[in-house]
């Protein structure tokens, strides 16, 4: 932990657990708050997307009611709530859990300084394409210099933006009179619903890649989001 002080981000702590058998090498990757808010976000996102699609089902269009041209009518299998009123209950309940978890996570990132590990900045731009070539075109892996590679930073920073976008557009949709300035600022009420939908599409674009990467990186990677500790990490603390 005291070694690479040159880095501006906190490095994962690595310890050797003494057990009766062989020592265990492990690194503490995810603080409790990050883990709790990760899973709260995952669950509330699942509920918000499902209930949101049930809400879309009530009027699957972004145009006028008369004449109505359906854009996308989600099938029942991916809807939550059973009917419009039920879906609104789930949506209006879990939006608070989603916002609360998001606010707690962002506050924790800001105060702890951990945001420096994952926040995508201009200096990460050149590193994105080599990572894309590695993941999608099986080119050699660029040298790892930071806990999170530029593509990861881009993905995680994007989800935060999608989260902020869904909250802001959701507020403009739900309370369009009280926040009429907000509705106007994002293109008028007729576009607010579109933006809210697109924010969801952003999350849906992130999730498959995220799950594939978790699967590729193995069980210990998944476990570390549950217990914080990652066994036998491929990196070394110093």
């Amino acid at each position: 932990m005291t070694g690479s002080t040159a880095s501006s981000w906190p490095t994962p702590t690595e310890v050797h657990f003494d057990t009766s058998a062989a020592p265990i090498r492990a690194a503490y990757e995810h603080p409790c708050l990050v883990r709790v808010t990760h899973w709260l976000t995952a669950i509330s996102l699942f509920v918000l997307v499902g209930s949101g699609l049930q809400i879309v089902h009530a009027f699957p269009s972004f145009g006028p009611k008369i004449p109505q041209e359906n854009f996308f009518d989600p099938p029942q299998a991916i809807r939550i709530g059973g009917w419009l009123g039920g879906a609104l209950m789930w949506h209006f309940t879990f939006m608070w859990i989603f916002m609360g978890a998001g606010a707690a996570y962002l506050a924790h990132q800001a105060i702890s300084g951990r945001y420096r590990m994952v926040l995508f900045t201009l200096k990460d731009v050149p590193g994105v394409w080599p990572m894309v070539k590695h993941y999608f075109f099986f080119k050699p892996r660029p040298p790892v210099t930071e806990p999170y590679n530029p593509l990861q930073k881009l993905a995680y920073t994007s989800t935060v933006l999608f989260g902020v976008m869904s909250v802001v557009t959701g507020l403009a949709l739900f309370n369009t009179v009280q926040f009429s300035w907000l509705s106007r600022a994002i293109g008028g009420y007729s576009l607010v619903r579109v933006w809210h939908f697109l924010a969801m599409c952003g999350f849906l674009a992130f999730i498959p890649g995220h799950l594939i990467m978790v699967a590729l990186h193995g069980w210990t990677n998944f476990v570390s989001m549950l217990v914080g500790w990652k066994r036998d990490p491929e990196y070394h603390a110093d």
Partner: protein
């Protein structure tokens, strides 16, 4: 963070860390069918509390020029039971009771005599569509003054000729754009739009703007909340 010492085994440390995810496990309560209605109603009540908190009687709903108004033939009709409950327009009166100084039956002429407001505002349906309509009528606030309503009362309850019913918080009723509406598109309300009197609440979701209103009760206790609300829809639903 776990403090790794020689004694703490990996298993014990990680188990303790896993237990810290209890707040996540608590969400499992939402999967219990017996608890679901209670929890979701709590969520809805919290949403109403927040929305009522930032609702302001002095914040107007956007109004639109006539050129942006949706033509009347493209103004959707979402009657709950019947496009025409057969109101006798000649004999119609508004029955007013509850916490009012002058209860009784009020005629349409008495409401016509109040200052007339004409405004084009957005009507937003809970289904997700919206239209900009042109509405004319008296301020609900002026109707409340006409009947001598106790403005410190909490609610207004409405009954309708088609057995629809609604209720409203006093703050919204006092909003200057909340109308006892008797005209749409500069013509008397047609039967399918709620003749002779309907609510027009530009700061509320569409289903709060009840049609065919026949009774107004000013009260502190709601016997029932509204046709859709009693089925599970949101009660306050301020826009």
């Amino acid at each position: 963070m776990a403090s790794p010492s020689g004694k703490s085994s990996y298993r014990r440390v990680t188990r303790r860390e896993l237990l810290k995810l209890a707040p996540v496990a608590a969400l499992g309560a939402f999967a219990v069918p017996a608890l679901q209605p209670t929890l979701l109603n709590r969520g809805l009540a919290f949403t109403d509390w927040a929305a009522a908190g930032w609702f302001s009687t002095s914040r107007p709903a956007p109004t639109f020029p006539d050129s942006e108004v949706t033509p009347l033939d493209r103004f959707p009709l979402n009657s709950y039971a019947d496009d025409d409950p057969g109101v006798d327009l000649e004999a119609w009166t508004l029955q007013v009771d509850g916490l009012v100084a002058r209860p009784g039956r009020y005629t349409l002429q008495q409401i016509h005599a109040l200052p007339k407001i004409r405004e084009s505002t957005r009507h937003i349906c809970v289904e997700g569509w919206d239209v900009i309509g042109s509405f004319g009528g008296a301020r609900l606030k002026d109707v409340l003054m006409l009947v001598g309503a106790d403005a410190t009362a909490r609610f207004l309850a409405f009954e309708c000729a088609d057995d629809y019913y609604e209720s409203l918080d006093m703050a919204t009723a006092l909003h200057p754009q909340s109308l006892a509406c008797y005209e749409m598109y500069d013509a008397p309300l047609t039967r399918e739009h709620g003749a002779p009197l309907r609510l027009r609440l530009p700061t509320k979701i569409g289903y709060k703007s009840a049609k065919y209103v026949t009774r107004l009760t000013v009260t502190n206790i709601l016997q029932r909340r509204g046709y859709w609300e009693d089925m599970g829809y949101d009660w306050f639903y301020g826009l």
